[in-house]
Each structure stands twice: as structure tokens, then as C-alpha cells.
């Protein structure tokens, strides 16, 4: 077999592999009945999100709970402390330069009392995420237990504040400067969907 025939054969084999592979990829991702990607639902401030029955957050079964964001802000730590009327005793909990403040309202739609964790609500932006500052959050919510749980009676609504700390060293300069304007969400797992609660 001469060189040009070998080359032709080689190209033909590659082409066939590419076509078969392409069909497989297309079928696998678009035409099979399997949905690998869980759908997202975006909710505004003040809109309720139903928490999925299957999901656990902070080891509390969240059957029958609904949650919404009622207000929020991102502030410098000093501003945050003064705006919330907090004394210097809170400053020890807040090592980061900026603090995110999210007020949640939780509704227990069940016929029995229960409790949910206030520490597990991850905040995220387009390409970053932040976690609840446990000490500050527990300190700011007198009703929350030392384990970070809040008790809610049947058909009762309660609000709590989650404090998120943002350290400059985890952010690009541009994002850090505009953090107050960056879109932020709280992710809540619903039944077969992810609900994104807009924070700002």
C-alpha cells in the first residue's frame, strides 16, 4: 500500500470514529431520556421556595418547610457592626473585611413543630461561594441554639439572620471592588430542581 492510500485510510478511520463518537455524544446528551442536569429556578427577594422533602440541611429533615430572603446587604465590617447596633464584642467574630447580611424567613407548613439549621445556607455569586460565619450568626440570633438550630412551631413563621464573611484574598480585585453590586444567590434544593433565591 502506497503512502497516499495509507493516508486516505487513516483519514477515513478517523472520520468514521468522529462521526460515530459525535452521534453517541449527541444521543447521550440530548436525545436520551435521562436528564443529568437538575433544572434551576430563579426566585426574587420575597418569593418563597419550597424545600425538597428528600434533602437534609444541617442534619435537619426539611420536610414541609418553605424559605425566603426578606432583606440583605453587603457591608464593610465596621459599617455592618454600627448599622446593626453591635458592640465591639462582635468584632472578634468578624475577621474578614466585608460581611454579607441575609435575613431569611422560614415557614413551617407541617402540623408538628420542628427545627432547621441556620448555618448551612451557602451564598454564591457567578463564580464564587461563601459560607455562614457560625459564631456571628449564632451570636446575632438569640433564638438559635448553640448547634445553630432554630425551633419552629407548626404553621409558624420565623426569621433569622445569616452572616457571611468575605475575605479579600479569595477574590479578584474587580469582583472585590464591586462585591456590593455582584449578583448573589442562596441555593435551596427543591423537589427535582435547584431554587436560586436572589439576594441582591
Amino acid at each position: 500500500m502506497n503512502n497516499s492510500k495509507k493516508r486516505g485510510l487513516c483519514f477515513a478511520v478517523i472520520l468514521v470514529c468522529l462521526v460515530i463518537g459525535g452521534v453517541r455524544i449527541a444521543f447521550f446528551n440530548h436525545y436520551s431520556n435521562v436528564n443529568y442536569e437538575i433544572p434551576y429556578e430563579y426566585l426574587e427577594v420575597g418569593q418563597w421556595a419550597k424545600i425538597a422533602t428528600e434533602d437534609n440541611v444541617g442534619n435537619c429533615v426539611l420536610t414541609g418547610y418553605e424559605i425566603m430572603v426578606s432583606e440583605s446587604d453587603v457591608l464593610n465590617t465596621e459599617e455592618f457592626l454600627s448599622q446593626n447596633g453591635l458592640g465591639t464584642e462582635y468584632a472578634g467574630y468578624m475577621n474578614a473585611k466585608k460581611q454579607g447580611y441575609v435575613r431569611f424567613v422560614v415557614r413551617n407548613t407541617k402540623e408538628e413543630a420542628g427545627e432547621i439549621s441556620v448555618l448551612e445556607w451557602i451564598i454564591h455569586g457567578i463564580d464564587f461561594c461563601g459560607y455562614v460565619n457560625q459564631e456571628a450568626t449564632i451570636a446575632m440570633n438569640p433564638e438559635v441554639s448553640a448547634e445553630g438550630k432554630i425551633s419552629i412551631l407548626a404553621q409558624e413563621e420565623k426569621s433569622f439572620v445569616a452572616v457571611y464573611q468575605f475575605s479579600e484574598r479569595y477574590f479578584n480585585e474587580k469582583t472585590w471592588k464591586n462585591l456590593e453590586k455582584e449578583p448573589l444567590w442562596i441555593q435551596v434544593f427543591g423537589e427535582n430542581k435547584i431554587q436560586e433565591l436572589a439576594v441582591q
Binding site: I25, Y36, I38, I126, D127, C129, E168, R169, N172, T175
Partner: protein, 283 residues
């Protein structure tokens, strides 16, 4: 110039050592693909429609993003050696056999040097790019194209702020993959030029083959031993060349460091090549 470039590229691509380097790279990629297949096929069915399925998605499992597999570690560790094999070898042989001297006598010096380095750049780039494309293709056969979840992404993949192309990764994943491949190609090109220079300058075959990989490993080890470099905001950055080859290292690799380091390496090659060309030494 165009013609000499084409000839150099032809010689480079039809060089035995290029096939050896490409074959070795592909073997490592296939090892990664097999390991990934075993993990994904075992776990994906139970994750369908659940949170966390993105862990078995293409964006997470691509060799340029994940860190778990043996193939990944081998491939990124051996890139300098593979490219050195593909480029330094042929240029060293041409010099030793007097072939390059003949070319220099019969054509423009600048053109000869330039076309050699352009060919070395392309061959080096291809040595990385072909295995990476193959990896992407093979993984796409069984890893779903699922967007990464930013609320979990940073923890799972290490793609956080400060990492090259972070925002693209979460918003336009295909563009991110393209950018990732393009940067890897550029890295391959830069290492290819360095290796070509070693092949043309050094008189010992082993030296020509291993000087560039050795430099990469030594500088990497030194950078790891030295205290971490921090940006003004306190963000830790990676500066070791081997760490920067992999685009999701365990610290930030902003674009200016990535391209700055590549640019410095390329500049050194250009300056040395230019000086050699001016001196018109036939080695």
C-alpha cells in the same frame, strides 16, 4: 520563508520521536479515560437528576481540570519531556549531521532560524493539544455536558476566583474549554521553542534532550520550597512553571502571571536565537 516553514513542519511531524512523544501522551490520556470511565459508570446512574451530578460531568472530569487520576499526574508531569523528545531530538540530529549547516549556507539565515522556531512552536503545541483533544472527545462519550454549580464548584474542582478563566468556567463552559486548550497549546509552543534552542545549542544529546525538563523541575521545586508569593490582596499565587502548565493549580494563576511567564520564556529564546543568528555560527 513559507516554504521553509512548511518543510520544517513536515520534517518535525514525520520525525520518529514526535510519534513516540505523541504516543506516550496518548497512552497517559487513555489511562485517565479508563480510570474516569470506571468511576463515572459506577456512580453516575445513582446521581441522575440529583444535586452533585456535575461531579461526573465533562467539565469536572476533563484532564485539564481534574486532579484525581494517575493519568492526569503523569501527563502534566511529563509534558516538558514529551515536547523535548519531539523537538530537541530532531534539531540536535540535524545539527550533528551537518544538515542545518548546509541549509544555513544556502538560504537566508534569519529565515532558516525563524522557520525552525515556528515549526518547533507548532510541534510542541501539537504534542499537548492532540492528547488533550482526544481526552475531551473520549470523556464526552460517557460524561454528561453538565454546567458546574458555583455553590459547590469551588470546593469540588478548585476553580475559584483567581484561577485562569474562572468566570468562563461557570458561565460559558465551552469557551472555557477552548481557552484551556489554547493556553495549553501556547505552553506547548513555548516549551517546544526552548527545546529546539537546546537542541541547536548543546553539543551532548542527553543534555539537549533533558536540559529543558530539568530546568522546569528544578525551578518548580525551588518555587515550592520558597515561601508562597502573595498578591497585594493576600491571594496566594502559583509561579512554578510546572504548576502553571496545569490551569487549575491549588492556588491562583491569574492570566497576567500565566502569560507573563510564558512571554519571558519566549523572550529568552528569541534573544538567544537572535544573538546566535547575528554571530552566524554554524555550531
Amino acid at each position: 520563508m513559507k516554504k521553509s516553514c512548511r518543510i520544517e513542519l513536515y520534517k518535525g511531524i514525520h520525525n520518529r520521536m514526535f510519534y513516540v512523544a505523541l504516543g506516550s501522551g496518548i497512552a497517559m490520556i487513555l489511562a485517565q479515560v479508563v480510570q474516569t470511565f470506571l468511576t463515572v459508570s459506577k456512580n453516575l446512574p445513582s446521581m441522575m437528576g440529583n444535586k452533585g451530578a456535575e461531579v461526573y460531568g465533562l467539565l469536572y472530569r476533563f484532564i485539564g481540570v481534574e486532579t484525581e487520576t494517575l493519568g492526569h499526574k503523569l501527563f502534566f508531569m511529563s509534558i516538558p519531556i514529551l515536547i523535548s523528545l519531539a523537538t530537541a531530538w530532531i534539531f540536535f540530529e540535524e545539527k550533528e549531521e551537518g544538515y542545518f549547516g548546509q541549509i544555513l549556507c544556502r538560504s537566508k539565515r534569519l529565515d532558516s532560524f525563524t522557520s525552525k522556531y515556528i515549526a518547533a512552536f507548532l510541534i510542541g503545541g501539537l504534542t499537548i493539544l492532540v492528547p488533550l483533544l482526544l481526552d475531551l472527545f473520549c470523556l464526552a462519550l460517557f460524561c454528561p455536558l453538565v454546567k458546574s454549580n458555583p455553590a459547590a464548584g469551588g470546593m469540588l474542582t478548585g476553580v475559584t476566583q483567581g484561577i485562569f478563566g474562572c468566570r468562563l468556567y461557570y458561565t460559558k463552559p465551552f469557551l472555557y474549554l477552548l481557552a484551556n486548550l489554547a493556553v495549553e497549546f501556547l505552553w506547548g509552543g513555548v516549551i517546544g521553542c526552548m527545546s529546539a534552542m537546546a537542541g541547536l545549542l548543546l553539543s551532548k544529546r542527553l543534555g539537549a534532550l533533558f536540559i529543558v525538563p530539568a530546568l522546569f523541575y528544578i525551578v518548580e521545586v525551588v518555587m515550592e520550597i520558597l515561601p508562597s508569593i502573595e498578591l497585594a490582596n493576600g491571594m496566594k499565587v502559583k509561579t512554578g512553571p510546572l504548576s502553571l502548565l496545569y490551569l487549575v493549580p491549588f492556588a491562583a494563576n491569574p492570566a497576567w502571571i500565566l502569560f507573563g511567564e510564558m512571554g519571558v520564556m519566549l523572550l529568552v529564546v528569541i534573544v538567544i536565537a537572535w544573538m546566535k543568528e547575528k554571530r552566524y555560527e554554524q555550531f
